[in-house]
């Protein structure tokens, strides 16, 4: 067992133990806070798939987070107002069932990632960063002016979506749902990273020419990675909207993109569990520094600066050492 595996296990146990203790001692706020960390972790894992494994620096991942949120919001809005989502060419009703919302959120945000990726991946380097940022802003301004669904004010949902057999309004049960989804995503990403596709993707990040020479077009690899990445982040967006029972254009703002990137960096780029550690650390900082000072972003900025300048591997780099080569 390597240090990294040990750290992964400790992390997952901690994430489970904290809300359980809070549940026993009746502190629902802590449970909600941990749920936030878990959801942010899923969003970070999504970005890490493109950023860490493929080296695609996307500054527009808030789009997929927001699309996931809006999918949930729009479906629930139509369900709670009893209006059909569309009547032509075929009638579609809104829904409050998580089992329908999640796949729809994943598919829609995945398709959006496919479209944005297909255009953006024609460029590289700085141009890629800028064009993903621009697509992000484009959809951000679109949601602001989309008055059907609240425009700038966003959309409030009265009751959380339903999951068969569970009471989703109970914090600990909603946490359990998110936690299980996190585990599923982690297992999926872990397998994908070790599959031949994942190896090819990492190889392309290191040396495109060589990958091309063995017959794999990097464009196709990157596009698949970007699509999967967007889909995972979209799932996190749907959960986040459900947690707050509220969606607004803020979810798509470029600050959100920056924050998702911060989760990845704080934890450690390219580590499967990195974003989990990063998101947990972010929430911890937000909670502890937020209590210390109203202006806690100054400290967050200083810490982030320190990590980028002096501790490039993030938390995982510090605790588990350099990444071990895959067998």
């Amino acid at each position: 067992m390597t240090k990294e595996t040990l750290l992964n296990a400790v992390l997952l146990c901690l994430l489970l133990a904290v809300p359980l203790i809070a549940w026993v001692s009746d502190e629902p706020f802590i449970i909600t806070l941990t749920t936030r960390a878990v959801i942010f972790a899923i969003a970070g894992i999504g970005l890490n798939f493109a950023l860490g494994f493929g080296g695609l620096v996307s500054l527009g991942h808030a789009v997929f987070f927001g699309i996931g949120g809006y999918v949930m919001g729009i479906l629930a809005y139509h369900a709670q107002t009893y209006t059909p989502l569309m009547e032509w060419p075929f009638a579609v009703e809104g829904t409050k069932s998580m089992l329908i919302v999640w796949p729809v959120a994943v598919v829609v945000s995945g398709l959006a990632a496919l479209a944005i990726g297909a255009l953006s991946l024609r460029t590289t380097g700085v141009y890629f960063i800028m064009i993903t940022l621009a697509f992000g802003q484009m959809l951000y301004y679109f949601t602001i002016s989309w008055s059907t669904y609240g425009g700038e004010d966003g959309l409030s949902i009265y009751v959380r979506n339903t999951f068969p057999g569970l009471n989703t309004m109970d914090p600990i049960q909603f946490f359990a749902i998110c936690y299980v989804l996190l585990l599923i995503v982690l297992i999926g990403v872990h397998c994908a990273a070790r599959s031949s596709f994942g190896l090819m993707l990492r190889a392309a990040k290191q040396n495109e020419e060589r990958v091309q020479a063995v017959g794999q077009g990097p464009y196709r690899l990157y596009l698949i990675a970007f699509t999967i990445s967007g889909a995972i982040t979209g799932l996190a967006g749907a959960l986040f909207a459900d947690l707050n029972r509220f969606v607004s254009p803020t979810m798509l703002s470029w600050h959100t993109s920056g924050e998702i990137m911060v989760f990845v960096i704080l934890g450690g780029v390219g580590r499967v569990f990195g974003p989990v550690a990063g998101a947990a650390l972010f929430i911890l900082l937000e909670h502890s520094l937020g209590g210390l000072s109203e202006y806690w972003h100054i400290y967050l900025g200083a810490i982030l600066l320190g990590v980028v300048l002096f501790a490039r591997g993030g938390l995982y780099g510090l605790l588990a050492g350099r990444e071990v080569a895959h067998d």
Partner: protein
């Protein structure tokens, strides 16, 4: 639709464009010479605006306020270059994005801490208030017209500096081959600090000039920053000429789009639908423009290698 209104909107677009150029010129120079993406450029714009508002409130002089914006932004620029940015030149873009994102957090919260969350106001001077009558009887704001003039003057000065002076030669040489001009005995690190200070001063100056039209508040730099990025991506990163053309193109597209699109949709739709579709499309128009340019020319209009 009246022609006079259209000409006024075109002037507004031009004014917006030249102000964007002041932002974009610094960004594109910094990227062209040092290879650095500076997200904190919008913070320097904000620093300039706040310095101008503070000095104007204390002294009542608009000219002093403009001087203060230049000095304060250049000073802040030198400060972050020496403390942080210098360490980022050899890093990959991801590190640069993150470190400068961290700087935004620090600058924004620091300003909020120092000045509070309420917007400040910077009054335009008496002698530039009111309107001026242009040919064909067009009434236009004197201040906005001066902005166009100042912007074009600065642009001309910048071109002159880069094409005709020794420092300009060094900047162009730095864009072509960093190691070589170092080997030829140019103090690279001083040159970098100088370029960064120049870019920062231009951004701060733009912040002060725009601050007199809009309010001066925390976060004012970020929308402009993103537009400036769109400008340099359209123009081709590293090209000053591209930045000027890109800036005017973005300024005109944005302003005229907001003005014309609702009217165009109004021809085929009900007024309220046309307004909502038109305005949402208008707010997306420059990004559509950028995506279009990149599809045809992935390196921007004037992007070289």
């Amino acid at each position: 639709m009246s022609w006079i209104l259209l000409i006024e909107q075109t002037l507004n677009g031009l004014q917006f464009g030249v102000m964007l150029f002041l932002m974009a010129a610094g960004l594109t120079l910094i990227f062209g010479v040092m290879g650095l993406i500076n997200l904190a450029h919008g913070s320097l714009y904000m620093v300039g605006a706040f310095a101008a508002a503070a000095v104007a409130a204390a002294t009542g002089s608009f000219v002093l306020a403009l001087v203060a914006s230049l000095v304060a932004a250049a000073f802040a620029g030198v400060l972050i270059e020496v403390l942080v940015i210098r360490r980022l030149y050899d890093r990959d873009h991801l590190d640069q994005v993150l470190a400068t994102f961290a700087l935004i957090l620090i600058f924004s919260e620091g300003t909020r801490w120092a000045f509070g969350s309420f917007p400040l106001f910077l009054d335009r001077p008496e002698y530039l208030a009111g309107t001026v009558t242009l040919p064909f009887g067009i009434e236009y704001s004197k201040y906005r017209l001066s902005l166009i003039g100042i912007g074009l003057l600065v642009a001309a000065g910048l071109f002159w500096m880069i094409m005709r002076t020794r420092i300009g030669i060094r900047i162009r040489a730095g864009e072509n081959d960093r190691e070589m001009i170092g080997a030829l005995g140019v103090d690279i690190s001083l040159l970098y600090t100088l370029i960064f200070a120049l870019g920062a001063a231009l951004a701060g100056f733009a912040g002060a000039l725009i601050g007199a039209i809009q309010s001066v508040q925390v976060g004012m730099g970020e929308p402009v920053l993103i537009l400036a990025f769109v400008v340099i991506v359209i123009g081709g990163i590293g090209s000053i000429k591209g930045a000027l053309i890109g800036a005017v193109l973005v300024g005109l597209t944005d302003t005229l789009g907001r003005f014309l699109l609702p009217q165009i949709f109004g021809l085929v739709m009900t007024p309220s639908a046309a307004t909502s579709v038109g305005s949402s499309l208008a707010s997306m128009s420059i990004y559509i423009l950028m995506a279009g340019v990149l599809l045809v020319r992935p390196k921007g209009l004037f992007g070289g290698a």
